[in-house]
Symmetry: C2
Subunit: 89 residues, 2 copies
DNA sequence: TCATATTATGCGCTTAAGCGAATAATATGG
DNA sequence: CCATATTATTCGCTTAAGCGCATAATATGA
């Protein structure tokens, strides 16, 4: 029984979150400046988010997700199947 | 074909997020003070989160979710099935 | 009802987000 | 190799998070 659950959309720390945002942005062919424009944020702010700034604001997060056609979900903590070593990269 | 997708774990704005946190906290029988203690945050900070402070920090969010045994997931924006009017409460 | 628990607010403080504006550093492709 | 695009970083500024500490406001239950 194989279960493909797309572990990659999980953000347990700011770095992971930044990576997710970066990936989503690139998938959409946007530069930081373009994303910032759409979100009403500076390119510098997008850069900070993607590099893992832990103090990014909830409001900013929600705005960016919205622009990327993503949304913020809360889920029960998935038991670490062992594939939890993809934390850093 | 019925699909129960638990729409309620979705946070599109700070108020929704606050409500989710409050619900999860109560389910676990915790007071704001107890949750704050476990998370290393003030009761006042938990209060602010739950009442929808838009400037809550990513770090704080992740800490609180962790204490509640929840996690932060990013998902493609679900097409509004129409049940998107449960936004405010 | 009324004491107790819980949640919401307040003050002053330190730290930093996000801003505009700019530049340094790096990546990319022709 | 190099011009151009992209990303990272800096400066000064305003605003507010989260802190300790404290209290007001509200909910809860015996």
């Amino acid at each position: 029984m194989i279960e493909v659950k797309n572990m990659s959309d999980l953000a347990r720390n700011p770095k992971q979150f930044g990576n997710l945002i970066r990936r989503a942005r690139k998938q959409r062919g946007l530069s930081q400046a373009m994303l910032g424009e759409k979100a009403g944020l500076r390119q510098a702010t997008i850069s900070l988010i993607e590099t893992g700034n832990p103090a990014t604001t909830l409001e900013t997060i929600l705005t960016v997700l919205s622009v990327l056609d993503l949304e913020f979900r809360i889920a029960p903590r998935s038991k670490g199947t062992a594939a939890d070593i993809e934390d850093m990269f």
